[in-house]
Each structure stands twice: as C-alpha cells, then as structure tokens.
C-alpha cells in the first residue's frame, strides 16, 4: 500500500534516524500497531 498516510516500519525508521541507537525490536511493533490501528479505524468508517 503506497500512501503518504501509511508507513511501514522500514519507511518510518528511514524518516526517523533518531531511533537508530534505540531498541528498535521493541519500538517497531508499537509504531506499527498504531499505524495499523489508524488504518483500521479509518477503513471501518467506510464499511
């Protein structure tokens, strides 16, 4: 899915170099969780 309103973790990380020295294995699932929650929330509005 190619959208400026939805980033995969890899896309997000590329835009956030400040996270490079951080525990990305703990951060990735959390960032992705809310990205996906937002997507589901919005799509549910149209279903």
């Amino acid at each position: 899915m190619d959208s400026k309103y939805y980033l995969t973790w890899e896309e997000y990380l590329a835009e956030h170099p400040e996270l490079e020295d951080k525990p990305t294995q703990a951060i990735a699932p959390k960032i992705q969780k809310y990205e996906d929650a937002m997507f589901v929330f919005i799509m549910d509005l149209l279903l």
Binding site: S3, Y6, M38, V40, F41, I42, L45, L46, L47
Partner: protein, 384 residues
C-alpha cells in the same frame, strides 16, 4: 476444568472441524439476534444503552441465558460515540436508536483518477472530510476530533470486549475472532459512489470502476487480515451489489477483484465468511470457483440447489427466514429449521445461521419464543 471451559473447548472443536472441512460432532448454531434486539429484549432504551455501555452487561447476560448459541451473540456493532464525535453523515442514529446508513457520496465522479492513483490518500484527503463534518475545518479541530473519536471507539470496543470475555467464560462459547472487509466493488459503492452513483458509473466509465477496484484491492486485503490468523478466526465479507448488476458487469467489474480478495485471504490461511446478501442464484458457478471451505451465508435462494452445487466444496449457512419468526407458529418455525437441517446438514459443511440479523424485538410478538425454540431445536437435532 469448569463446565464453561469444557464447553468452549467442545465448541472450538466444532468450528475447527467445520472450517477445515471435517464433519463436526453436531451442526454449530449462531443466534441471529443482535445487541439491538438484546437491549429491547431486556426492556431497556436502545439509544441510551448504546451510549452508556455500562448498562449492557445484564443485557447480554439475559440474552445469553435465554437463547442457545455456540458463538457469542454480540456481532459487529456500530457504537454511536465515535460517529457522533466525527460528525458522521454516513452512519447516524435514528430517533428510535438504530444506527442507520443513509445514502451518501464520499467520492465525486471527477475524483476517480485521483482515487485510482492513491486510494488511501484520497480517502484521507477527500472522502473523510466530505462524509464527516468534524473532519472538515480548521486543522486543530480536525485533529482533536479524530483523536477523541479514535480514543472513544477504542475505549468502547475494550469495554464490549470485557463483557464478551465474561460471557464467553460463563456460557462457554467458541473463541471466535473476526475481521471485516468488503469486495472492492461494494466498497466503491457503499460509502464512496452510492448505489445510484456506481450504477451510472458502470455504464458511463466502466474502465474507471475497474481500475478503482484494482486500486482498492490491497486496502481490502489489509483490512480483512487478522493479526494472527487461526483456525477460529475468519474474515467477514458482506456482499451487496452483485444481484443488482448485469451478468457481464458482474463478470468484468465485480468478480475479478472479489475473487482475488478471497483467494488472497485463503492463501494466507485465513477463513473467509461471505454474507451472500440478496439472491445470488445466477452466480453459483462463480461462487464455486472460490477456495475450498469458503463459508457462505446466504440470504435468499434455493437451499437445495446451493447444497448440490456448492455443498461439497464450501461451507453453507444462512437461508433461515427470520420473517417466519414474526409470522409463523412455533411449529412452523421448527418445521422450517428441520427442513433446512435435512437439506443442508448431510455430509457436514453446514453452520446454522439465519438469512439476516434479528434487530427488532416487540414485547408482544412471538419472535423471542420462536427464535428460542428454533435454536434449541437445531442444537438438539443437529447431531451427526
């Protein structure tokens, strides 16, 4: 192990068997009535209970106590709070407290190209501000409305989830989880172009309709994907527009992306339950092409023909006419259940559900008594 845990395990096994094509111990049964029915049945105010969810636990407890079902009878529910916070026009609460879906146009015909280029961007930038008044205005207000609405929905779903967990623990229901998505064509019709709009588009610019369905397919796949696919989860896909299309439009515009959607879900190990709304009898050969063990809950049509054509490959459900619960005697209602059991149960691959949801309850009407009798009958007579 408590009795309820034992029952949950048994019921989980019924559905594991059903979904994997084995004949289960007995026909699994789902109560067709919804939260709306349950609230009225408890004698409470429909609108009030949907706003004040703390009133719902005794509502569900009575509902679960009085009507047999193997699955939690909560269903997928539209909760009013987040719609209100967003200024929703496509989903609104009627004065009697039902959540209704007026005809809306979220996407203009001249926006097709933009939509096709990037459907999610277009949804965020064009469709949502058009359909939800609070998402159209000063950026700060829009942001706060979205944030409040998302938080409210999250809180509401969490609260309903705790009620569900309590009822599952008390009544031993199967531990089902579901994700909701739509056929790409239906998605384009329902909130974006409207019934009237898409009907015109099919004639005027079928290529754009086809391209839009292609473009939105990845979103529909993503939306229908369960976080952890399991034998007890399924993707629920209600089907709307096909019966209103000409055969050739169905073949070129509806079917290709819908088929890809179901095939993709199946290839990811996700069960799929189609709610085959209206009459699809002229499309049975298409449905046959869908992956083995796709669950198909039918509204109208010829149950015998469906069993014959699809019943060996797919899991059949539905057909039980809820209008009969309103108009028939208890014996007539049971006879109908027997008739469907006789047609659909042989060989397995059958799940007892009704042709649609029961949302209305009249205190003086026969629905509750008839429904209870039918659910008990199928429970007791569905053993293989």
């Amino acid at each position: 192990m408590t009795d309820a845990v034992t029952m949950t395990n048994e019921r989980n096994q019924l559905f594991r068997d059903l979904f994997s094509g084995k004949t289960p111990k007995r026909v699994p049964v789902s109560n067709p009535a919804t939260q709306d029915f349950a609230i009225q049945y408890a004698g409470l105010d429909l609108a009030e209970c949907q706003w004040d969810l703390t009133k719902l636990e005794p509502v569900y407890d009575k509902f679960c106590q009085d009507f047999f079902t193997d699955t939690y009878p909560g269903g997928s529910i539209r909760i009013p709070s987040h719609y209100q916070l967003l200024g929703s026009t496509p989903i609104v609460m009627s004065s009697s407290g039902f959540m209704q879906h007026p005809e809306v146009v979220g996407l203009l015909a001249e926006e097709y190209d933009e939509f096709i280029a990037s459907p999610y961007d277009c949804i965020v930038e064009k469709v949502l501000p058009r359909l939800f008044t609070e998402l159209n205005g000063a950026p700060g207000k829009v942001a706060m409305s979205l944030a409040k609405a998302m938080r409210a929905q999250s809180d509401d779903l969490a609260y309903l989830g705790t009620i569900r967990a309590k009822m599952n623990a008390k009544y031993g229901y199967a531990g089902m989880i579901g994700a909701l998505t739509e056929a790409p064509f239906d998605f384009m019709a329902d909130f974006l172009r409207s019934f009237k709009g898409i009907s015109g588009d099919v004639r005027r610019y079928p290529d754009k309709v086809a391209a839009a369905c292609d473009a939105v397919l990845p979103l529909m796949i993503k939306k229908g994907t369960l976080p952890n696919p399991s034998m007890l989860g399924y993707t629920f896909i209600p089907l709307h527009m096909a019966p209103y299309l000409r055969d050739k439009d169905f073949a070129t515009l509806y079917w290709p992306t819908f088929k890809k959607l179901v095939e993709t879900m199946a290839s990811m190990g996700q069960n799929v339950q189609l709610f085959v709304e209206q009459d699809w009898m002229r499309y049975l050969d298409y449905l046959y092409e869908l992956p083995e063990n796709t669950i198909m809950r039918f509204e109208y049509g010829d149950a015998k023909l469906v069993k014959e054509k699809l019943g060996k490959k797919h899991i059949i459900s539905g057909f039980y006419p809820i209008t009969l619960l309103q108009t028939g005697t208890k014996q007539q209602c049971i006879d109908k259940a027997k008739e469907l059991l006789d047609i659909l149960a042989p060989g397995g691959k059958y799940w007892f559900q009704a042709d649609k949801s029961v949302i209305n309850f009249e205190a003086k009407g026969p629905v509750a008594e008839n429904m209870s009798a039918v659910l008990e009958y199928v429970h007791e007579n569905g053993t293989y």
